[in-house]
Amino acid sequence: MLERRSEVSRVLLVAAPFIAVAFTLLASSLLVAWAGAPVGRAYALLLEGGFGSRFALTETLTRATPLMLTGLAAAVAFRARLFNIGAEGQLYLGALAAVAVGGFDIAPWLLMPAMLVAAMLAGALLLLGPALLKSRFGVDEVVTTLLANFIVLLFVSAMLDGPMKDPAAMGWPQTVALPDGLQFGKLIERSRVHTGLLLALALALGLWALLRFTTLGFEIRAVGANPRAAAFAGMPVTATMVKVALLSGALAGLAGAVEVAGRTGYVTLDMSPGYGYGGIVIAMLAGLNPLAVVAASVFVAGIQVGADSMSRAVTVPTYIADVIVAVALLSMLVATLLAQYRLRFAPRPRSER
């Protein structure tokens, strides 16, 4: 049924995201119609709500910032075939670490880097466990990182009820706010876009360069492409896996700190509407390319912000955003595959082979 193309179709490879998005919009319009809304108007509202005004664009960029970081975390891990599904937990632990360090009594100029490093360390160490279990004992990291998300959320919940609870929060389970000096500045006036966006963009560029130009980047790609061949070529497979885990966990942990310092100011149990899981989708949409992660996260954030605003105007539940993202992911996978394979329904006659 599938036949490998003798040459990967470059045209199809470039067109794949557009074909996937077109198919997604078509498929989702059925749901919009089912919800009883005029399809054209609903999509216009979604587009306008996500990208159509200064307010819409800045809200989209604000939401895209943590998604970029979790998207990068997933992209670098998946490149090495370390399936880190635990970015959600790493984000929360990073956020918690940021707030904990933010309360330290050290030199003010040291506090900001200390806060960011603490968040990165928290995320990195959290992923180090599953990565070591994978390389030492062969324990599937998908399951362990998924289960770790539940454990971390319960831990955060315990902390917000107990030692890290803000006594002034009228009983709400939230931490104390970061001191003003630790909160990120605004990047665009009269909006919520903060300097964390610059950090995310710089890291995307840095990660792209790392994967492309450095030895570690080469090792990551080699280990991901074929771990046995990489080991045979004398590459340190386990060490590479550990480095990838530290890098990926650190990026996800940083996403937590960036959210706290840039947007919320403190940690709550609902500070992330699934940024960690969203990052996986974004990495896949971007074909695991760090620069494409930037575009993919703006796309996903725009859909989510747009869906929020659309559902206030017409009777379409906001869950349409998740449906759109899921369909986009799956159709993107298929479209990329079809650039490498062609469908053939009837087998070729034997004489032609």
Binding site: I151, G162, M284
Partner: protein, 306 residues
Amino acid sequence: MSAAWLDQLASLPFWIAVLRIATPLILGTLGVLLCERAGVLNLGIEGIMVAGAFAGWLVVYQGGGLWCGVLAAALVGALIGALHALFTVLLGLSQHVAGLGITLLATSLASFAYRVSFPKVDSPPTIEPFAPMSALPVPVLNAQTPLTLLALVLVPLLAWLLYRTPLGLALRMVGENPAAAEGQGLSVARLRSGAVIAGSALMGVAGAFLTLSAFNAFYFNMVNGRGWVCVALVVFASWRPGKALLGALLFGFFDALQLRLQEGALVPYQFYLMLPYLMAIVALVVVARRAAYPQALMKPYRKGER
């Protein structure tokens, strides 16, 4: 305190709770087991359980019988399973990524459908769930619903299918060595797709247990990681139905125990809630060294390609 939990172990309600908690895990784990024995990882389970829970509940809410609800959940599960089979078996996409995509799709579709059907409700609409089989003369079991009995019957049934029938041999063969199976004239694509569809139907029923038996309404986060636990339990069970039952009961035991330890405890309740998840990870580590994965698990098979 130590005496308190010993008392628990001697009490009937405790063991009733263990079996009740274990039921969806038994069904889900058998579903994952069937898929993986044929060589396909199905991370769609979490979403399929949500969809099954919703579909089963909706049919009953609309006036259908309880067993119609179970059937609907199985059908929805099978349908989503067919999609997973299309992606992973026929197209040979990454089983990890396709599974996560399926989970996201099924979860969001179920949530979307729920919101479209019930735009504004203050409290979730309820149904009359399955009643316990109180006529049965077996203690603990007579406090359970027929779905628990179904789960328990399915364990030896699946074991018989896998180890005592030609179909079972063929299924295990495509999970171990698809090229050899193809050489024997077996259709890898058909066997794998069938296993994924049937396994996903079981996952749908596992979800329906939550809305039709354990609770009486549909909540957004009601599956809450149970699907992922099933994926872990299959490894713990070394892909054997009997051990899967054991693993599910063990998990139910810890979950029931932590609920009862919370009362009057010194440690925050969240740490008790962590116990079952931690136990799943520990179990994975313990068995990992001698885990005999189906050899072709997660490896797509394309005819004539190596």
